[in-house]
Symmetry: C2
Subunit: 148 residues, 2 copies
């Protein structure tokens, strides 16, 4: 599936006359090698390990490209940082987010999806995308932390 994504990006790049560069390949590798929801800064730090001279701007630009190519999705939580997550073919999931330790768990629920469409239809909207985030304490933090 990692190979799939690489070739998906190569196709996109070719179709656009974009070039393949050391930096883009590296950023793609690093991005694909994680399953977390990384902020640009975090990605940048990881990339800088193998390519100390790289600039943040390149990481920003490249991640935007991945998003356009359809293999990453931008997500903006309320912390003011843009994060990128993987896009798996045709799937879309929602997030459980721990307010204490920022752990993110993904889930999917067909019934909720269905209800969303019904609601949209009732208001005459045609839905293109959605986002559902549940904020609270994860199991670990629930135990560790004295209830405020």
């Amino acid at each position: 599936m990692i190979l799939q994504k690489k070739s998906a990006f190569n196709q996109f790049a070719a179709a656009r006359g974009l070039r393949s560069t050391r930096q883009r390949d590296l950023i793609l590798d690093v991005f694909l090698s994680t399953h977390e929801h990384l902020s640009v800064e975090e990605l940048y730090l990881k990339v800088k390990v193998s390519a100390p001279g790289i600039g943040q701007a390149t990481v920003y630009r490249t991640l935007k490209l991945f998003a356009e190519a359809g293999l990453a999705r931008e997500m903006t939580l309320s912390d003011g940082q843009t994060r990128y997550e993987h896009v798996m073919a045709g799937e879309h999931h929602d997030h459980l987010i721990c307010s204490r330790c920022a752990t993110i768990v993904e889930f999917e629920d067909a019934t909720i999806e269905r209800l969303q469409n019904e609601i949209a239809a009732r208001h005459g909207f045609s839905i293109r995308s959605h986002r559902l985030e549940l904020y609270g304490l994860c199991p670990a933090c629930k135990e560790t932390v004295p209830v405020p």
Copy 2:
């Protein structure tokens, strides 16, 4: 209900030793007189009409106060601007957002809420809040706009 909110804020202010000032009263009036989901900038422009000398910083500070007092809620859509919406006692609703004209329609669905809690429980999370946003075209834009 507007009066209720004003006194709610006065109570909060009193309990904290905060002062009542011309600016705060005005910002509260303007905020309460709208039912939209305004960004700080928009609020600031509206307030400036009646008080040309006011500073943005005051609007930022005051809206944060309203949020702490529980009568406004911060919401961050993906456009990087913080918006504030009214908090009605005990209620929480979700949003249908038109990607073309930015119209926001509120809705609520008890079944979705229930499913959210079940999902959270299944993952051992205790939910404190959530956000659900459906993005698409509103009825007006669906007709106006040639499908891309």
